[in-house]
């Protein structure tokens, strides 16, 4: 049998080796089986790490479970309450504002940075590494640094402003609702811009020079080349970057929790921070799960929207 096994042709590209072939050989040569085996770990991880918590979260959001007691099925009552709850509505507003404004500015600034880095510059490698720093530094660390920068008594920004004569007293960055909102949005823009810049830079470097040369010969201006050559060529990478950023920003937790813990007066709560507060700190698991559930359809919609509207093509 061993000799027979050796004679079985290898390197098949598909289909079954046929009956009568030992199972070990069949496994080795059946590409469909191999595909399943290779995919299995990923599928198991996805089911275990995404599928199960998601299903559990959906179930809990339909119950009245707390840390203390088992829950009973209560239908949509958590969701019905939440849409009437002013704190939840504030969190939804904050999350949408935080995501939309952040992504808009991250895209604009990221594109500007990418265009700059795509030019012939001295120390380009070093500059790229420096610009990437805000993205690679752990969020909690950078959030703590910004928390100091925004400190009501020791803010370096206030100190500079006072010494330059621009202001006469410290800026209350985190003490009033709108100041706090803009402050955390600014930090997220600072943190996320390098991701856009590096990704778009990678996209820029795939744009064939011949297209720009052809547009040049046709008399196109710089803006026209950017608008009609560069941007369309970047649509694919833009779709990916915007989708990823939307997912990360909409479900962000660590930045806001580290800087404001949702304050002042719940003015900076995002859905994720509010869910954590309600479920883990407050012990109301079902309500926390329901809040988290609001994130899922939005992220799904963002993904689809970006996929179909921004890329405008099938990948």
């Amino acid at each position: 049998m061993a000799a027979t096994t050796e004679e079985v042709p290898t390197g098949r590209t598909g289909g079954s080796p046929g009956p009568g072939v030992p199972w070990r050989v069949r496994m080795r040569n059946d590409s469909r089986l191999a595909a399943i085996l290779f995919l299995l770990p990923a599928v198991l991880i996805l089911v275990g790490l995404l599928g199960y918590p998601l299903v559990l979260g959906v179930w809990l959001s339909l119950t009245n479970e707390t840390l203390a007691e088992s829950g009973q099925f209560v239908g949509l009552s958590n969701f019905i309450y939440l849409v009437q709850d002013p704190v939840f509505r504030t969190a939804v507003f904050n999350t949408v504002l935080y995501t939309v404004v952040s992504i808009f500015f991250k895209y604009i600034l990221g594109m500007a940075l990418a265009l700059l880095l795509n030019r012939k510059l001295r120390f380009k490698g070093l500059l790229r590494a420096v610009f990437l720093l805000p993205w690679v530094v752990p969020t909690v660390l950078s959030a703590i640094a910004w928390w100091w920068i925004f400190d009501s008594q020791f803010s370096i920004l206030s100190w500079i402003g006072i010494h330059l004569g621009l202001i006469h007293h410290n800026i209350n960055f985190l003490g009033s609702p709108w100041n706090a909102r803009w402050s955390v949005i600014a930090v997220d823009i600072w943190r996320g811009t390098p991701f856009f810049a590096i990704s778009l830079l990678a996209g820029l470097q795939t744009v064939p020079k011949s297209l720009h040369e052809a547009a040049d010969m046709d008399g196109a201006t710089s803006w026209q080349r950017f608008r009609h050559v560069t941007l369309p060529m970047l649509s694919g990478i833009t779709a990916i970057v915007v989708t990823f950023s939307a997912i990360f920003t909409f479900s962000d937790f660590s930045l806001v929790y580290s800087i404001t813990r949702g304050g002042p007066n719940n003015a900076t709560h995002l859905l994720a921070t509010l869910a954590y507060q309600e479920a883990i700190q407050g012990g109301n698991l079902s309500e926390g799960a329901a809040i988290a559930m609001f994130i899922v359809p939005v992220l799904f919609a963002v993904t689809l929207l970006t996929y179909f509207k921004v890329s405008r093509r099938k990948w």
Partner: protein, 463 residues
């Protein structure tokens, strides 16, 4: 002014919530613990927080007996604010191990991380054998804890009576579900020379005097500052004190929402005047901001644990030399209405070594171990037992004395209603802090702010 713990707070066991029958760790615990862990990674949101359960009810009664063979313990404890606290705690723990042969590993966690970790462990049925958590965390899941009534009796037999509020925190339906370690007292720290310059030879004893003090200090350029952001300790402690000092409360003794009544409105009117005297930016302050500002010499007074004085001695000796401490003034109700972060031992029902855990608590709370540790902690933990407050340590330095009676003079979370999941959630949601902050910063009128808090509480309490 009465400081008699027997007279106030009121008698124990009022309006306790009825509990369902006890049960063991649920069949879904393991699966749910998996969900809890992986969800955090996968969803990046609260999908992670949604794990397991068992029916609510009474604590798990474990018949006391000898320490289990091969027992070893894992303790979850908040990391020390005073270095000698940790040193002495570990020393006592080693002594316990030498005496019993039971090794004890201690997870020192940042104090704000203890509550979620302790609650998660209870819910999934896996984790440390025992924990020391803050506020009314044990009241959230009494059925997932071991009945410690025999431990409480044993400690009391050696160290005397418990103060009433710590006892209330430790009990559910007459059974001890947790053993109070003590109250991490929050009292006033102020600059003596600046106070004298402002015309105050001692710290005010009542709320009217406190307002005058705040005005005078601001006029002299040394404003007071108290946290009004989402500060778990510093904001909760003084805002609750304020509401109660004027007769306000979130919930009455019948469990009805009472936050929108006269006492609270008066407290919020006071808060507006009081807030106007504070240094700017307090609405964003967390638990560390007042420490930084005080040590930098920007504050004339603030409320904090004695750790601020401890830090000043090493980091800002000139500030420490000019610092005196004082108890929270008494409001129109005429009685102390302090609120502090109580710290409690609790033993999880899932532990394999409940008797070892009980012995550990008894050992650590016994006078031979507790007193040296209490002294080494320099007053950071106010004892829950009357006899320990009579220790000469508390009068060895005038700065220590105001912290001595923190556990005696405190009220409880959710006063004057029952403690439980609702009071915990109200605290976690910063209902009182935000209510005071809205009024103090002028975002809302006192009445509107109280009404908003009432709406939040009605939802939380389900009424």
């Amino acid at each position: 002014m009465s400081r008699d713990g027997d007279k106030f707070p009121p008698a124990l066991h009022t309006s306790e919530l009825a509990r369902m029958a006890a049960s063991g760790v649920s069949r879904r615990s393991l699966l749910r613990s998996m969900g809890l862990g992986v969800g955090a990674l996968a969803a990046g949101s609260l999908l992670s927080a949604c794990g397991g359960s068992s029916a609510g009810g009474a604590p798990q009664v474990v018949k006391s007996g000898p320490i289990e063979k091969g027992a070893k313990l894992k303790l979850l404890r908040w990391s020390a604010f005073v270095d000698a606290d940790q040193t002495n705690w570990e020393k006592n723990t080693q002594a316990f191990t030498q005496k019993t042969g039971v090794p004890v590993s201690i997870d020192w966690e940042t104090w704000t991380d203890v509550q979620p970790k302790a609650a998660t462990a209870a819910h999934v049925g896996s984790g440390p054998d025992l924990a020391i958590a803050f506020y009314d965390t044990p009241q959230q899941f009494p059925d997932k804890l071991v009945d410690l009534s025999d431990v409480a009796d044993d400690i009391s037999s050696k160290a005397g009576a418990w103060f009433s509020t710590p006892q209330k925190y430790g009990q559910s339906n007459g059974q001890w579900i947790a053993i109070p370690l003590g109250a991490n007292g929050a009292e006033w720290n102020y600059r003596v020379s600046w106070a004298k310059a402002a015309g105050f030879s001692e710290f005010p004893k009542d709320t009217d005097g406190l307002l005058e003090f705040a005005k005078a200090m601001k006029t002299d350029g040394h404003p007071i500052g108290l946290a009004l952001g989402h500060a778990v300790g510093d904001a909760n402690t003084w805002t609750h004190w304020l509401i109660w000092a004027f007769g306000g409360m979130t919930v009455d003794s019948n469990g009805k929402i009472a936050v929108d009544q006269d006492g609270t409105i008066k407290a919020l009117e006071y808060a507006k005047q009081f807030g106007d005297q504070m240094i700017s930016g307090v609405a964003s302050w967390d638990d560390s901001n007042n420490n930084k500002a005080y040590l930098a010499g920007q504050l004339g007074a603030t409320s904090n644990g004695i750790s601020i004085y401890y830090s000043a001695q090493s980091d800002a000796p000139d500030v420490a030399a000019d610092t005196m401490t004082a108890e929270f003034p008494v409001g129109p109700v005429g009685k102390p209405t302090q609120f502090h972060q109580i710290s409690q031992f609790m033993v999880y029902a899932y532990t394999q070594y409940p008797n070892a855990a009980k012995e550990y608590i008894k050992f650590m709370m016994a006078p031979e171990q507790y007193k040296p540790w209490m002294e080494a902690s320099e007053g950071y933990v106010s004892p829950p037992l009357e006899s320990y407050t009579q220790d000469p340590f508390w009068t060895s330095k005038p700065q220590f004395t105001p912290y001595r009676d923190a556990a005696k003079n405190m009220l409880w979370d959710g006063y004057s209603g029952p403690m439980g999941i609702q009071s915990s959630q109200a605290l976690a949601d910063y209902v009182v802090v935000d209510m005071v902050a809205r009024a103090a910063t002028g975002q809302q009128s006192p009445k509107d702010s109280a009404n908003q808090a009432a709406a939040q509480l009605k939802r939380i309490y389900g009424v």
